[in-house]
Structures are given as structure tokens and as C-alpha cells.
Symmetry: C2
């Protein structure tokens, strides 16, 4: 049995709880340590999460200590976005691979630096977008490649929204920490899915839809946008901190469409589904629509949160064995997603102006 890939967690953010749980479920992965700026907080967090998940975490009282632990292969960073560059630089200096919480950066310049420092240090970069590691995406991709039942992609509409109390003190509403607000948080997933739907081609141009809402501090709390590709494909999305939890995906082709109503976080962690409709049409003197909706179910051996870690660990194991090079797909996809996201922000800032991307 090969050595597990050991993960250290930088910070005690809430999201780290489910990621540490996933570390205990993922094969070939070990939850090794957690750090906070205070040892006491790190110890309390390690104990709590340990009880809930069985993870045996070393607690460090500073991020630096964790980074200098030679046993750690990968650092998972659920830090506020404004701190990412600094800590990626420090992690890369210690030759730690980096699993970064999204959004990875606030500007493309920061993103360039983050990716360059990882590449130069020979460490793998990945952002923690879980959905893309879910085998459902491969099953949907196969369905959309059917010329007969789906045809050509014309449009992808997605939405992701939940209610974040605006006075909760959540970092996602603090312009000093996560200035991209709902766009950086939930919008990240919509844009990622849109690029995925278009085979990771970049759109030619993007426009923020009118109707953006912001907090009193100027952080975006709701926004929609339209992305247009050079060949005429279109994607739209809506993301918000103000609406009831909801997450729709609707992929429209010339011969059929595909729908799933749990874009980002599956209804169940052991199984998820999508619905296809192939060659639908009017029947019965045009008063009914042929109902060919078909659900395809995809079973998950481990939750998608664990699949990210397994995919990451497989790359790290390959690197450690000297068998594999850095996997450039992950930094590329992350970069493209941020590029489009910032173009949407730019469009909003410029009064819903059209922003050229390619």
C-alpha cells in the first residue's frame, strides 16, 4: 500500500469541516494537521472535527508551522481570497501542493502570480470546485455528445442562490476580504459550469445583466450575466445571496436538452441524477408535448468532496513517484473561470458594458 497523500489545513473556516470529513472518506488521503493563528483555536477545532469525523489532526498555532511540517504534501487553503497570494507563495516555497478555496484571486494579476509561483516551484495547483470531480459531469458530457439525442449545444442557463443573512459577518460580504461577493462565491460555480458546457472555450464577450444588487458596503449580493461565444453559443447565469437555496442547470441543444436541479451540491451525497429530453415535440393535434423526460442516476462511491481530494492525491502521488508532470488542466480551468468572472464584474462596474474576453 502506497503512502497516503497528507493534507494540512490552513485556517479553521467552516467549510474546512466538510473538507476534513471528506479527507477521512477519500482513498489515499490523510487529514494530517490544521492550523490557526492561535494554538488554542486550532486545538479546539481539531478536537471538534476529530470527534465528528475521526480525523486525527495535529494542531498548529501558526500557518508557518504547518507549512514547515515535512510530512505534509498538500495545503488546503480555505482562507479569505485577499490572503491567497501570500499564503500560496509561502506554501510553494515549502514545496507544498496547493488546493485553494475559490475564488482563487481578486485580480488576474494575483492569479497569474499564484499560478506562476506554483509552476516555478513544481507544485500542483487546483481549486476546490467539487462538482467537476463528480462522475455525473462525465455522464452528462456523454449525453450531450449524442448527435441524435442532443445535437449541438446552443445555450446553457444556470443559477445558484441561497440566503446569506446580510448582517451575519460572513467574510463573503466583507469587501476587505472577499470583494467579489456572490459573484466570487456562487457565481464561480455558474461560470465554471458554463465553461464546462462549452468545452472550456472562452466566450468572446460578456455582459452583466441589469438588476445587480449590492450590500451597503458595495459587495455584490445578486447578479446575472450573459456570455456569448464567437460561434453564437450563449450562456446565462444568476447567482445570489438573497434567494432561497436553489441550483438549476439547463443545457439546450438542437435535438434535446439536459436539466439538473442540483448544479453544485447534489441532493444526496451517494447518488445524483440528471434529466434528458430527446427530440421532444408536439403531439395530439399540437395540444400536448411528447413527454420523453428520462432520469439518469449516477452513483458515487464517496461524496464529491472526497473525489476532489482523490483526484488531487493521484496527481501528487504521480509527481512523488516521478511518473507524472504537473497537470496543467486545473490551473487553466481555474484561470479561465476567474477571467470570465472578472469580466462580468468589469461589465457591472462599467454600467453593464459589453466586455471582450477573447
Amino acid at each position: 500500500m502506497a503512502e497516503p497523500v497528507r493534507f494540512g489545513v490552513l485556517g479553521c473556516a467552516n467549510i474546512a469541516r466538510k473538507v476534513i470529513r471528506a479527507m477521512t472518506l477519500a482513498e489515499g488521503v490523510e487529514a494530517h494537521a490544521v492550523s490557526s493563528r492561535s494554538l488554542e483555536k486550532a486545538q479546539r477545532f481539531a478536537e471538534e472535527v476529530g470527534k465528528a469525523t475521526g480525523a486525527k489532526l495535529i494542531a498548529y498555532g501558526s500557518y508557518e508551522e504547518l507549512l514547515s511540517d515535512p510530512q505534509i504534501d498538500v495545503v488546503y487553503m480555505p482562507l479569505p481570497t485577499s490572503l491567497h497570494l501570500e499564503w500560496v507563495q509561502k506554501a510553494a516555497a515549502q514545496k507544498k501542493h496547493v488546493l485553494l478555496e475559490k475564488p482563487p484571486a481578486l485580480t488576474l494579476e494575483e492569479m497569474d502570480k499564484i499560478l506562476k509561483v506554483c509552476e516555478d516551484a513544481g507544485v500542483q495547483y487546483m481549486d476546490n470546485s467539487m462538482w467537476i470531480h463528480n462522475p455525473r459531469m462525465e455522464a452528462i458530457r456523454a449525453a450531450k455528445q449524442s448527435k441524435e439525442n442532443f445535437g449541438q449545444v446552443l445555450r446553457f442557463d444556470s443559477s445558484l442562490h441561497f440566503h446569506l443573512p446580510l448582517h451575519s459577518g460572513d467574510i463573503r460580504l466583507d469587501s476587505a476580504l472577499d470583494a467579489l461577493g456572490a459573484l466570487g462565491d456562487v457565481g464561480w460555480y455558474c461560470i465554471g459550469h458554463s465553461l464546462w458546457a462549452m468545452d472550456w472555450d472562452l466566450p468572446q464577450r460578456v455582459v452583466a445583466q441589469p438588476g445587480t444588487k449590492t450590500s451597503k458596503g458595495g459587495v455584490i449580493t445578486s447578479i446575472g450575466a450573459t456570455l456569448v461565444w464567437a460561434d453564437g453559443r450563449v450562456a446565462t447565469f444568476y447567482c445570489s445571496f438573497e434567494a432561497a437555496w436553489g441550483q438549476q442547470a439547463y443545457l439546450v441543444g438542437t435535438n434535446g436538452h439536459i436539466h439538473w436541479n442540483d448544479l453544485c451540491i447534489p441532493m444526496r451525497e451517494d447518488s445524483c441524477a440528471f434529466v434528458t429530453s430527446s427530440k421532444p415535440g408536439l403531439i395530439n393535434s399540437d395540444t400536448e408535448v411528447s413527454n420523453e423526460y428520462r432520469e439518469t442516476r449516477v452513483d458515487l462511491r464517496v461524496p464529491q468532496e472526497a473525489l476532489v481530494l482523490e483526484d488531487f492525491a493521484a496527481i501528487v502521488s504521480g509527481l512523488k513517484a516521478g511518473k507524472e508532470a504537473l497537470d496543467s488542466r486545473w490551473p487553466e480551468r481555474s484561470y479561465k473561470t476567474l477571467r470570465v468572472l472578472l469580466a462580468v464584474k468589469d461589465s457591472y462596474d462599467k454600467g453593464e458594458a459589453e466586455i471582450r474576453v477573447t
Copy 2:
């Protein structure tokens, strides 16, 4: 038993077949006559439709003859939009009530004239938007009025698309007959639903989304748009002649959402449904979403195509009995829908400029 309300049909358009069938199913309604510019065509059509539906139709060889039949109460007009004003004027002159196929007019000036001539003549105007007469809409309205389970309306996204062969010679692709293309045809329904969702308040402004497609003759074949209300509510829609048949509606509130995937033409004509999700949220350490999707089914005594006719006939019966005044809701809703539709067209024509509506 009261006299039935008698309908005459101006023209032998394909859509008239299902409307005449609906006349045979609607209570208090009689399919009385059909006319074409050629008697032979009208006779052949009357015979064909009679065989299929049991309707016993008088065939007239000119529209004028039909309009002068004193037995006819209502004229149903499935004519190309460019002919509407002329024939509404002639029908009103004969004191015939008018059920008009959509889009009712190509300009607001035409629309004003159509509505004025009907009002002045004391005849009822209604456009043949069937969905709104479906009792499902009342059931959804009740669901969205639940403060606890739905909350406040934030957004409504709809889409309606089907594949219309671009060289089919269909009037909806002929700029001389139906210059509003997919926007006038399928877009009409999306905009109507959007206004319905917002309790018939007019939006403050509309913007066509980038990515509109047109035929070689310049008729819109695909378009999306964003509508914004003064209080921040947003609606978006996508309509197309280029995609597989599909019709989505997604109404988002602060505490829940409502979804139906047969916006305009129900899957079945005797029953239709919608799905509500109330107070959805993350569960199980944030790795699953609470699945509270609930389907509500609404049974239909007669198909929605017949319900329009019954609603119309009830107004006409009331007018004939001298008990009721003209019902102003129908011309108002039709006018508002066209007003928004033309604002979207204007936005597209002006390079996706924002167009003020109110």
C-alpha cells in the same frame, strides 16, 4: 339552456385546427363557420376539420361574408400579424367580438388602434394566450402568495423554444407578415408569463441579451432578454426557433421556488403540474441539499385551448344579456405584453441598449 356563443374563424391557418377542436370541447361555445379567400379552400378545410373534430362549419369564400353572418358572435383571427388591424376594424364594424392570435400587432400604434376600435364598437378583445386560462396559473399564484413557503418574488426565468425549419416558408419567418419572428411567437409567451409573475406590473427597463440570431431575411430566430422592475425584481427569458422543443419556468422567491417544465403547452391536456421547493437548505454537514420538492397536479376538465374560449364566451354572454361591461383586463394584459416585447425588439435594434418602459 342559453344560446351558445358562436365563433367564426378567419382563415385556414394550421393553428385554427386545434382551436376549432377546442370549440367542440368548450361548454357554451359553437364552432360556426370558417372562411378563406377561396371558397374551395374553405370548404376543403371545413370538411377536413369537421371529420377530425365533429365541428359542422359553414364555409365562406371571403372574410367579408363571414363577418356579415349575423349568427356569429366572435371572430377568431389566426391571420398573419400584419393583417390584424385591417380585419379587427372590419370585424368591429360588424359588432363581432375579437379573439386575436398573437402577436396582436407589430407596433404600439397599431395596437392602440386595434384596442380603440374594439372599445368604441363595444366588442370584447382578447388575445389567444391559452396558458393564462389554465387553472394551474391560479394554483401557482396561490403557492407564490405563501409568505412562509415562497416569500417575495425575486426573479422569474423562462424559456420557450422549438425547431422551426428555416426554409419552411412559415409565416413566422416572413418579414412581410410576421416581422417579430421568434420574439413575437414564442417570446410572447415568455413575456406574458414574466408579467404574470410580477402581478402585471410593467418593468422599468429591458435589455436584449447579446447573442440574438436572425434569419437571412433579418427575422429574429433566437433572442434572450432581461427585464428589471423598479423595485429590483428581475425576469429573463430565452426564446428560439432553433432549439429542441423546451419550455421552462423558474420562479424564485426569498423562501422557496416554483418550477414547471411546460410553460406554454402542458405535457398532457387533461392534467398538468408544477413543483415547489420550500425552505430548501444544506444538510448533513453541508454536503447534501434538503430535498423538499413537491409536485402539485392540477386537473383540467377540458384542455386549456377550450378554457380560453369558455372564458371569452362567458364575457360575451354577459354582454349579450346586458349584465356585464367589457372586461378591460384582457386588452390591458395584451397591450402590456406587446409593449415589453417591442421594447426588447427596440433594445436589440439599438445594439442591446437599455430601453426604459416606465
